[in-house]
């Protein structure tokens, strides 16, 4: 019984992990149709922000929850202003540019901090016991933060005028612009928020996975598969795909082994895309968030 609870919690964590690394990508892709190949590097930069800040004596929580999203969000806005905004409607050029950006970030970080960063931080909070089993309390917290983040994004999109304007702009830029909405500003803010969420995710995961300049490559494939499997709806898609893929992965990994776990995840994704080429929420295009 304890085992079931412990493993169940672990699978939940796997799901939250997947959702966390995918959400930023989902926002930028879902709302702007920009394929951000520098997504993994946004996560990486979030991680570096936390490590550097923590080493400089900043409180770890402040570094993770405030500094990481702030720094990466600002980087996102700068990137959008300098680069992405010249490329709207030119999806392929955006792709190329963000890939260039991804290499650039890796290059810059490697040049400054070296190929591996010699200082580190550990996951805070201690250990939670479930009968004979122990889990990291921090992992539990991450599940909570992911859920809270999802709810926050939902509320922003649904309730605030910013969210309304953003949704409107994404669906029909011309009309929104005729209504006096500054499309350019909405895009900038959306990109910034997407980047900030990626930064937050990277920062939160830094104590669990560590940081390397090239760590983004580990995340981006999974994030992509999750977002595409999820389909057009940002939240519903990311959540449903994370639950499905993370669940399959966690169960298979526990029953057999991590290799089969990963294979199960990928095969599920393939089958899913065969059945629903537009992802789980593809049919609900434009209606859900």
């Amino acid at each position: 019984m304890d085992l079931v609870a412990a493993v169940g919690l672990q699978i939940l964590y796997g799901i939250a992990n997947l959702a966390l690394i995918s959400l930023g990508l989902a926002i930028i892709f879902g709302m702007m149709r920009v394929i951000n190949l520098a997504h993994g590097e946004f996560l990486m930069l979030g991680g570096y922000t936390v490590v550097i800040a923590a080493n400089a004596g900043v409180n770890l929580w402040v570094a993770m929850l405030i500094l990481a999203p702030l720094v990466v969000g600002v980087i996102g806005v700068v990137v959008e202003r300098l680069l992405i905004r010249w490329l709207y409607g030119r999806m392929i050029d955006t792709l190329l540019a963000t890939w260039g950006l991804s290499l650039l970030f890796i290059g810059i970080v490697t040049s400054i901090f070296g190929a591996s960063t010699a200082t580190t931080i550990s996951p805070p909070l201690g250990v939670v016991s479930i009968g004979e089993y122990t889990s990291s309390a921090y992992e539990l917290l991450l599940i909570g933060i992911t859920v809270a983040l999802g709810i926050a994004v939902f509320l922003v999109l649904k309730m605030t005028s910013l969210g309304l304007v953003a949704r409107g702009t994404m669906q029909n830029a011309e009309m929104a612009s005729a209504l006096g909405v500054s499309t350019s500003r909405v895009y900038m803010i959306t990109f910034g928020i997407g980047a900030a969420i990626s930064g937050l995710a990277g920062g939160l995961l830094a104590p669990v996975t560590g940081v390397l300049p090239t760590i983004g490559a580990v995340y981006i494939a999974k994030a992509f598969i999750t977002v595409i499997s999820g389909g057009a709806a940002i939240l519903a898609g990311t959540a449903s795909a994370s639950v499905l893929l993370g669940g399959v992965n966690g169960i298979a990994a526990f029953l057999t082994g991590p290799t089969i776990g990963e294979v199960a995840l990928l095969v599920t994704a393939i089958v899913l895309l065969r059945l629903m080429p537009r992802g789980i929420t593809g049919g609900l295009f434009r209606k859900s968030l």
Binding site: L3, A253, P258
Partner: protein
Amino acid sequence: MTVTRRRFLAGASASAAALAAPAFIGRAQAADPIKFVSILDQSGGLDIYGKPMVDTTRMAIDELNAAGGLLGREIELKVYDPQSTIQFYTQYATQAAAGDRADVVHAGITSASREAIRPTFSRFQTLYFYNVLYEGGVCDLNCFCTGSTPAQTVEKLVPYTMNKWGKKVYIVAADYNYGQITAQWVQKYVADNGGEAVETEFFPLDVTNFGPTIKKIQAAKPDLVMSALVGGAHVSFYRQYAAAGMNRSVPIASTTFGVGNEHKLISAEEGDGMICAYSYFEEIDSPANQDFVARFKAHRGEGAPALNELAARAYEGAYLWAEAVKQAGTTERMPVIETLRTGLAVDGPSGRVTIEPKTNHALQNVYLAELKDQAFQILEVYEDQPPTDTLLVCDLVADPSQAVFKFENGLEAAGIKM
């Protein structure tokens, strides 16, 4: 620098060769520099391993040149960065062999990269050194593998840790050739020592979530976990293991932890107590090593990376070759190979490294060390350990014409029954 030179001129034969060297200076090529090519990843995912190796290679060549070069000729070091891409390995290997006409090439980190370029060097008859710890099994007259192989380290690590912690072992390993083969050696030595390998799990190199496995370890209740995990993503295992409080109940031993300076990437409390085995640690307490570390820090300047077996062996590999050239009195390939295979040895920072002629691998010291405060404390030293695994399948003395990688398809395919 003269100090260094003296250290590497160990043995009377070496001195004699050095004295004999001027005889060759008269040749027309005397003025041409000797070409030493290094092909190691300095960007992309493998740069964690490649960068320190290039640093120590550079240092070795600088030292050799400062001491007057080899055979009176300067050594010209050419470094290629294959950017963690296999196609560039082949590309630069061909360029080094056929274009630069390198006298020696030290190259490759992953087995995949080594196997991509080894045939090129065979074909163009270019002497090749591979200075990385790997799964063993290369049997190639032209290729010298100076790194440690699993049998060398695992054979010592397993009994020691089982003795210390208990007989139930849980094995976690990276899911590729190296991890699979290392895991098999671990299983063998666990059984040989009367223990039980309760479970063996393999992890794809990009796995970062080890939660399910940690739960399984908790359920299996082993006495120790033996890890052969590799790469940046796998560092997560040690963190998550510690975060679940497991490092206090079930200790970890590893044959791979630290070779990418992982012990600097996790905190002291996460890593303390882990026991590892390599043929080199930065913390080896010998004058030769302390001097080496100090020189490296001076050479590399600020931000010098921590030294590990790969970095030390890249350095020693360069000196092994240099010593052979001195003794052979030429840079020509066959004489140098023959000289190396006479059981040539150098005393480097890791101690004595001797070429074993049946396999072209190295007899080397194996150190057991415990991690404490992000540093290794040496517990045991086993001198002159032979590459037992490769010796099982390779005898270049009997058949020098071989140029194969015996373990490409695993141990069983090579005829090794566990």
